[in-house]
Every structure is written in C-alpha cells, then in structure tokens.
Symmetry: C2
C-alpha cells in the first residue's frame, strides 16, 4: 500500500509526534465500570419491561405471553420448535402459554405444507392488534431513549448489546425469519 521504506533514526530537533486520535483507545474495564454495567442492565431491562407489564396486567396475561406474541409476530409461520429454541424454555412451559393464546384466538396454527407434523404459528388479527398495543408502549420508551441519545449512541448501544448475546442469538438477529439456533 505504502511506498515508505523504513527510515533510519536521525538525531535532530524535537518534533512533536502527530496528534492522532488514539487508535483504539483503551476501554475502561475496571470492576467499578463492570458493576455499573450490571446496574444499567438491571434497571434498563426492568423499566423497559415494566411498561408492557402494566398493559398485560389489565388483560390477565403475563410476560411469557408477551414474549410468545412478540416472536410469533416477528417470525410469522415459526415452528413450535423454533419458538422453543428462541425462548429457551421447556416444551411444557411453552404449551401452557401457547394454549392460552390459541384459546383466546390470538394465535393461529397451520400444518406445514411439506411436513404436516409442523404447526406453523401466526398471529390472528386479534393477536396482531394486541401485540401492536404492547409494542406501542415499549416503542415509546425506546424511541425516547434513542432520540435523546442520538444516532452515534444508538449504534454503540446496538454494538454492545449484540456483544453480550450468544452466537446463536446474533445469527438469529442477522437473519430475522430463521428463528433457529438462538
């Protein structure tokens, strides 16, 4: 790339080294900083989920229902096994939630075309409306935080959060729709 050959050292006048922006400035990884991050994650997640929980409470649904609605809405036609991998809960725990959602007409099922053993999950209109309602509450909170922080901060936020996640989750987020291996 560069034609510059190594130059021999030549004693002479003092020349101030070029003031480059620190190339990869050191990140503060002190315990204090790491514990502050723990706090941030705890409070951030708590307050982020709280706004949806308040809506759910009035409807007699729980956070688990919300999670299922969210991921079905985001991955229409997701298989039961896909949802299990995404949520990382047992088949029985999911069944309780999923049955409630189907009973209430929020989630619909369709047999797979090639493989009729599969139950492909989708939101019904009613389910979509509820999910949208829950989303609205959280969207407002995220939007306010994003707007106040500015685009650079948002990019940083995404980078760090992404770094906290497992490989599988990262792959999932890269290709929404293939909700396997999370």
């Amino acid at each position: 790339m560069s034609d510059a050959k190594p130059r021999a050292w030549k004693a002479g006048r003092f020349v101030a080294p070029p003031k480059l922006p620190p190339p990869t400035p050191i990140v503060d990884l002190s315990d204090a900083e790491m514990r502050a991050a723990q706090d941030l994650l705890f409070f951030g997640y708590r307050d982020f989920t709280d706004v949806a929980d308040k809506v759910l409470e009035e409807l007699g649904l729980g956070r688990a229902h919300h999670r299922a609605l969210h991921f079905i809405g985001r991955n229409p036609g997701i298989k039961v096994s896909g949802l299990l991998k995404t949520l990382r809960i047992s088949k029985q725990a999911l069944a309780r939630v999923l049955n409630a959602l189907v009973d209430q007409g929020l989630v619909g099922q369709a047999a797979g075309f090639d493989d009729r053993r599969l139950r492909l999950l989708t939101l019904t209109d009613k389910g979509h409306a509820l999910e949208q309602h829950l989303f609205d509450a959280q969207r407002d909170r995220i939007a306010a935080a994003y707007r106040a922080a500015g685009p650079q901060a948002v990019a940083g936020f995404r980078t760090v959060m992404r770094g906290l996640t497992d490989k599988g989750a990262r792959a999932y987020m890269d290709g929404i729709g293939s909700a396997e291996d999370t």
Copy 2:
C-alpha cells in the same frame, strides 16, 4: 445575557450558510428499528443473566438471591426499605430471600446507630466471596463486549440504557450509596 438587539434584515450579497455538523442528525425510529431493539434487550439480558444463573444453580440459589447480594454489596449498610425500593418487590418476597441469605451466613445485619429500628445490611466475608464469584462470570461477558465495541460504543450503550430507565433509577446510579427512590 446577550446585548444583541434584533437586527433588521438587510438585503445583500449571497452568503453561504455556515456548514455546521448536522445539529441533531435524525435517529431511525422506525418500527423495524424499535423491534430490533426489543430483540436486543431480550437476548442481551437473557445471555447476560444466564452466565450467573449457571453458577447459582450449583449452589441452590436463584436469581433473586443474586440481585440481593449485588445490591447489598454495592450499597453496604443499605436499609431493608432501600433494598425494597431498589428491587421493587414486596416485603414478603424479599424476606424469603433475605432470610435464606442470613441463615447461610452470607448477609449480616446491624441495628442503625441513631435509629435502632433499622436493619443495615452488609455482606459477610462469605457473602462477599460469593458475590465476587458471581460477578466474575458476568464481568467477563461485559468486558468482552466492551472491549470489542470500543469506548465510543460503550458511551453510547450507557447513554441509551440510562435513557431507558426511570428517573429514580437514574438518580440512584448517579449517587451510588443512596439507594432510595429507585
């Protein structure tokens, strides 16, 4: 503050407006972006807590115990009421956890000096060791994410996470030690 009086408009030569860095560049607040943030928070929090949960499992303790240990360690001498406000759980739910920790010699109590009704909570040596052990697991994960992301991203992460939290939690984080009103 300023002596400038409103100046009348005076027609004249065209002068290019000063090229400022875009004042507050637009942040992407589309639904897609907001939903991606939901995903990030879900997976990030899940995987962040998972590493500590694995340690806790071996010890027969739960996430609730970890939270108590964390906030007592971070705020030595915290009052029971302070912990209640921070964790936002009921007195009875906290009692169950706290009694277990005291019984196992992980947390110590001391009556307040001025007001002897208060139970000031601290970690015992044993409790401190356990908390440190749990911290280590999460620290590694955060440190890796921070290191890979770089200081600018970390600053952005903190800004956004802070923006997601309630006023009370922000006040708490500003003045660690006064764990009230969270």
